[in-house]
């Protein structure tokens, strides 16, 4: 085992790549739950984003169209969750889970209908990497960030944007108020349900972007269930990061690093002992369980998170 295998530029670059889909789902979770709606349909939103991104790329040969289509479908799926959770006041876990199953079945079925057994076309328009020429020559740093994908950068920019939005703007303040104490928000004239709708729809778009990253930036194809639970890991990253965008970034990087290590340590050994890579690759999942079980210090969700809001007087 070498230092390079642990913290080499290759491992760190891979960490960023692997963290990005988790990060985008986590950001979606932050926006939705800060407004008071638990959206575990993020996994499903990711999956439809991955699939419909591929379909749109295949049809239009345009990356922009593909990404817009992916996010639109993600928004659509999230909107169904929003109607169930906000308008019909149904159980948000059940609704989210149902949509995840729907997304899995729907994409699997349509994948077979569209592309049969041959798989998605190999000439898909992919999301390009952004080459930062001046950095490329810089040792180490250049190797880590000079050739990252456009969506990796978009994810990092979104962290800043959403952090500023939530904590430094008026709409952000209102969104947080809706998630903490919706009745208080309503009594000062804030439209609670409307705020929640937009937050849930935005969360679906973010997760779908993460899905499109998987299919259009990394794999350049779609396979059944290719998101592999990254939406759920994103939710864990959100909890780990205490419902803040910056926290979610840190948590996503930890999860990404865990996966990157499990790749880079393939076949490595310490002395005569082989590093148990299979065990290492469980690291993100173990961290997820710890995060969800509350072992990462006291982290408090928004007070009205997951609780449907009922306007008074309609009892």
């Amino acid at each position: 085992m070498t230092i390079d295998q642990l913290i080499g530029a290759g491992v760190l670059a891979a960490t960023l790549r692997l963290a990005t889909p988790i990060l985008l789902a986590a950001l979606g979770g932050v926006v939705s739950e800060r407004a008071g709606v638990v959206n575990i349909a993020l996994e499903g939103c990711m999956l439809v984003g991955a699939f419909f991104g591929v379909v749109a790329a295949d049809q239009s040969h345009s990356v922009v169209v593909a990404l817009v289509a992916a996010m639109a479908v993600g928004a659509g799926l999230a909107a169904i969750h929003a109607v169930a959770a906000i308008h019909l006041r149904s159980d948000q876990i059940v609704s989210g889970m149902a949509l995840n199953i729907l997304a899995l079945g729907l994409t699997s079925y349509l994948d077979y209908q569209f592309y049969g057994t041959t798989g998605t076309p190999s000439d898909l328009a992919g999301v390009p990497d952004i080459e930062i020429a001046p950095l490329a020559a810089v040792p180490f740093v250049g190797d880590v960030i000079a050739h990252q994908n456009a969506i990796v950068w978009a994810g990092l920019a979104l962290v800043v944007l959403i952090q500023v939005f939530l904590f430094r703007t008026v709409p952000g303040l209102r969104l947080r108020a809706v998630g903490e104490h919706p009745r208080a928000a309503e009594t000062v004239g804030i439209a609670v349900r409307q705020t929640r709708y937009w937050a849930v729809i935005a969360s679906g778009m973010l997760a779908a972007l993460g899905g499109a990253y998987l299919s259009l930036s990394v794999a350049h194809s779609f396979t059944d269930g290719m998101t592999g639970g990254r939406g759920f890991i994103g939710l864990a990253a959100m909890i780990f990061g205490r419902w803040t965008p910056v926290g979610a970034l840190v948590a996503s990087l930890i999860f990404g690093y865990g996966t990157a290590l499990s790749f880079s340590l393939q076949g490595a050994s310490i002395g005569d002992v082989r590093v148990p890579v299979q065990l290492l690759s469980t690291l993100p999942y173990v961290l997820t369980i710890l995060a969800v079980a509350g072992f990462v210090g006291r982290s408090r969700p928004p007070a009205a998170d997951g609780i449907p809001y009922e306007t008074e007087g309609h009892a």
Binding site: T169, G172, L173, A177, E180, H181, E186, V188, I190, T311
Partner: protein, 525 residues
């Protein structure tokens, strides 16, 4: 829908009692139905500009419903609202705020993790989409100076006491330029001293030209600060009075519709036998901080010990320790000489301890159960309810339930009724029936009349005094000082996890209790 009938409103409005001033607000014939319940049945309310108007009535009389109609949270089925001599239609809080109507809610409408200033400006932040903390804090500070209301604008609401949180609510309303301020049961969570401070603010507001509506059922407060009074009973008007020309007894009669019963004097003095003996009791709160820091007291047979104190000073934890519901960190709890401080609730109850918990709907009852099932809760493994300890005997349960329902005046006396559908008073009777029917030695009672109407309150008090007469020791925790003073033989005041004083009921004036509750031990000694 509100149907506009300006003519009728104008002619009848002139007959309002009292002053010559122009009515600022006229609500006429307001009706509102929830399902089977006619919450408001044609209620009128006329408020003059610049007065403090009391809206009084029992729980369920329709006070809060009427104000929620005025604030746009409920839409009335019929009736008209005139404000500043114009017919208005209020479809939501935004409309009310725009008219200059503000509400200080009973359950504060504050977002705990946000700062005082953020809470004040929320929904009306002004100055563009970017949040400028310093600017809004300055604006709030200016408002505080104008109305002589002091709160640190940069503090987080979750870190400040309830009395200050209420000031944030008042600032919120003033910030929006409200001319008519509705206070919904504003003193429910305050100490007597905080009440005085609130009333000072209330009077300042009137001097500043504001009009105030005070929703309350505490007659002393009505007499202390208001100018006129509207009484509601059962969703209808039950009287309009001028404060200076009336008496508390007259108001109470209008509220209840009959004379109030006088509590029977505590005829017998407590006996000598000590039932409960608590020494050096310590326990932690849910958050792991010390909640009880060394409690000593005893209660004798036939004695009621009242526990007074501002909520959150260890009263709930004390009750839970006595029942075995909370781990005792140190000290002893003896019932008839036997230490029960390590016992679980089942063993504790087997020693003859009964419990009327502070939230009957969460701790006291399984709401989805029938009256009969809730009556036998905790005894379900005993004959006759389960002969062998496992299989229930529905016939025996139903029979016992029917008997207790009659004995404890549950209405309707139907053992098959679902408890969730009963009124608060009848739910409490189910709790009492279960807890008092087996001759307990010690009864731990917490907030026994919270949310109950006057008749149900009287019933609960009579039953407790009856138990006292039969020799039970009773620990009474209540936030209603009047209740504690009326029932207790002695009154212990809790402050920050300690009993800071034990007073004889006779010498426990409200002022002394208030000072002790606020932690001023020397001043009240």
């Amino acid at each position: 829908m509100i149907d506009a009938r300006p003519e009728r409103a104008r002619t009848t409005g002139a007959t309002a009692v009292g002053t010559e001033r122009v009515p600022l607000l006229e609500m006429r014939g307001i009706r509102k139905r929830f399902g089977d319940l006619q919450a408001l049945d044609g209620v009128d309310l006329v408020v003059n500009e610049g007065e403090i108007h009391a809206l009084v009535g029992e729980n369920g009389a329709g006070k809060t419903t009427l104000m929620n109609v005025l604030y746009g949270l409920y839409h009335p089925d019929s009736g008209t609202i005139r404000y500043r001599e114009r017919d208005v239609r209020i479809t939501g809080p935004r409309d009310a705020i725009a008219l200059g109507i503000g509400m200080i809610h009973q359950h504060f409408m504050l977002v705990p993790p946000l700062t005082v200033a953020e809470n004040v400006v929320l929904g009306d932040e002004r100055g563009g989409p970017v949040l400028d903390d310093r600017a809004i804090e300055e604006r709030v500070r200016g408002l505080e100076e104008r109305f002589a209301i002091a709160v640190e604008p940069g503090a987080r609401v979750e870190d400040i006491p309830l009395g200050l949180q209420q000031r944030v609510e008042i600032l919120k309303v003033l910030y929006r330029g409200s001319e008519l301020l509705i206070f919904d049961e504003p003193t429910a969570v305050l100490t007597p001293q905080e009440v005085d401070e609130l009333f000072a603010i209330v009077r300042t507001l009137r001097e500043e030209g504001k009009t105030l509506i005070l929703i309350t059922h505490k007659l002393r407060e009505v007499m202390a600060v208001t100018d006129r009074i509207t009484v509601l009973r059962g969703g209808r008007n039950a009287g309009e009075l001028v404060t200076k020309q009336t008496t508390p007894a007259e108001i109470a009669r209008a509220m209840v519709g009959r004379e109030m019963k006088q509590l029977k004097a505590r005829a017998t003095p407590p006996r000598t036998e000590v039932i409960l003996d608590v020494r050096g009791l310590e326990a932690l709160s849910d958050r792991g901080s010390p909640a009880l820091r060394g409690i000593d007291f005893e209660i004798r047979s036939g004695e009621i010990l009242g526990i007074a104190g501002v909520g959150g000073n260890g009263q709930s934890e004390l009750a839970q320790c006595l029942l075995g519901l909370r781990k005792v960190a140190a000290g002893t709890i003896r019932i008839g000489g036997i230490d029960i401080s390590r016992d679980d609730p089942k063993r504790t109850r087997a020693r003859g301890v009964a419990y009327v918990p502070e939230d009957r709907r969460i701790e006291g009852l399984v709401l989805a159960f029938t009256v009969a099932d809730d009556f036998i809760l905790g005894k379900q493994d005993r004959p006759p309810y389960a002969a062998n300890g496992i299989v229930l005997d529905p016939a025996a349960i139903l029979k016992a339930g029917g008997r207790l329902a009659v004995e404890y005046d549950v209405r309707p006396p139907n053992p098959r009724a679902i408890v969730a559908n009963l009124s608060g008073g009848n739910q409490q009777k189910v709790v009492l029936g279960r807890e008092l029917s087996e001759r307990p030695k010690l009864i731990v009672v917490s907030q026994p009349t919270r949310g109950l109407d006057i008749a149900a309150t009287e019933y609960v008090h009579e039953r407790l005094l009856e138990q006292r007469g039969q020799g039970a020791a009773i620990l009474l925790v209540s936030s209603e000082l009047d209740e504690i003073r009326a029932l207790s033989d002695r009154i212990a005041v809790m402050f920050e996890g300690r009993i800071v004083a034990v007073l004889d009921a006779a010498s426990a004036t409200e002022e002394r209790l208030g000072l002790l509750m606020a932690g001023h031990t020397e001043a009240a000694a």
